[in-house]
C-alpha cells in the first residue's frame, strides 16, 4: 500500500462539530456488537455438547445400520447365478 499526501489550503473536508460527532455515538450498538462477538467466540462446538454429541452418534449409527441392511439385501447378478447353479 502506497501512501500519498495531498497538501491544500483547507486540507480535507471540514472537521465535524461536537454535535455532529455526537449523532454517530451509539453505546447500545456497541454493547450489542460486543455480546455478539463474545458469543461467537465462546460458542461450544457441537461435539462438545453431550446432548448434541449423543444425537450425532445416533444419527451416525442409524445411517450405518441402514447401509449395512441395504448392502445385505442387495445381491449382485453374478452371485445370483451362482445360487441358481447350486440349487440345480
Amino acid at each position: 500500500m502506497n501512501r500519498r499526501y495531498r497538501i491544500s489550503p483547507e486540507g480535507r473536508q471540514p472537521e465535524p462539530t461536537d454535535a455532529e460527532i455526537a449523532r454517530y455515538r451509539d453505546p447500545k450498538r456497541l454493547v450489542y456488537n460486543y455480546h455478539k462477538a463474545t458469543r461467537a467466540l465462546h460458542r461450544k462446538p457441537l461435539y462438545k455438547d453431550p446432548k448434541a454429541f449423543i444425537a450425532l452418534l445416533i444419527i451416525v449409527l442409524i445411517t450405518w445400520l441402514i447401509t449395512e441392511v441395504a448392502s445385505d439385501r442387495h445381491v449382485s447378478p453374478a452371485s445370483q447365478d451362482q445360487l441358481h447353479e447350486q440349487v440345480d
Partner: protein
C-alpha cells in the same frame, strides 16, 4: 476525568461490559476526529470509530494501564483499525492542510509557496509506514513527544530521537541532490 477515576472505570468495565459506557462517552469524539483526519469521510470514520471501541472492549481483559492514559491505547487500536481497513488498497491518499504542515515546513526550512509544498508531498510519500505514522502523529495530530511515546509504546526520549531521525530522512529527500 482523572487518571484514578478512569482506572476505576476500566476495572469495572473488565467485569461488566455495560460499565464501558463512561469511557466510550469520554473518548468517542477524540477517536472520531483522530480517524477522520486520516480517513477523511464521516460515515467511514464513524464505522471505524465504532470498530475501534469494540476491539478495545474485547481486548480490555488483557489491558494493563502501565502508567499510560487509556486514550493512548485507543489511538493505538484506531491506527490498527485504519491499517486493517487500508490493507487491500493499492494507494491511500491523506489530505493535510497548510496549517497542519506549517510546523513541518518550518522545521525543514522549506520556502513558502506551492513549490515547497509539492516537494514536501513527494518526500512524505517516500517515507515508509512507521516513519510516516510518526510524522502524522507529531504534526497532523499535534502530539507532544510524551503523547507520541505513549501511543507508540516507547519512552519520550526514544520518541524524540525517532522523530529527529525521520526529519533527517525527510531533509535528505528534500535536498536538491535527492
Amino acid at each position: 476525568m482523572e487518571r484514578a477515576e478512569e482506572e476505576l472505570h476500566i476495572a469495572r468495565a473488565k467485569r461488566d461490559p455495560n460499565a464501558f459506557a463512561p469511557l466510550y462517552e469520554l473518548h468517542f469524539a477524540a477517536i472520531f476526529r483522530f480517524i477522520h483526519r486520516r480517513a477523511g469521510d464521516r460515515e467511514l470514520s464513524a464505522d471505524l470509530t465504532q470498530q475501534t471501541f469494540l476491539k478495545a472492549m474485547l481486548a480490555l481483559p488483557r489491558y494493563e494501564p502501565k502508567g499510560y492514559p487509556f486514550k493512548a491505547f485507543l489511538f493505538r487500536v484506531a491506527l490498527n483499525e485504519l491499517k486493517m481497513h487500508w490493507r487491500k488498497r493499492k494507494e491511500v491518499v491523506i489530505d493535510m492542510s497548510y496549517a497542519e504542515v506549517r510546523g513541518l515546513t518550518e522545521e525543514m526550512g522549506l520556502p513558502e509557496g506551492d513549490d515547497g509544498l509539492r516537494k514536501l508531498e513527494v518526500a512524505l510519500g517516500r517515507l515508509d509506514e512507521d516513519r510516516a505514522r510518526l510524522i502524522e502523529l507529531r504534526y497532523m495530530d499535534g502530539m507532544s513527544f510524551a503523547e507520541l511515546g505513549q501511543v507508540l509504546g516507547i519512552a519520550e526520549d526514544a520518541a524524540k530521537m525517532r522523530t529527529h531521525r525521520v526529519l533527517a530522512t525527510l531533509r535528505t529527500y528534500l535536498s536538491p541532490r535527492a
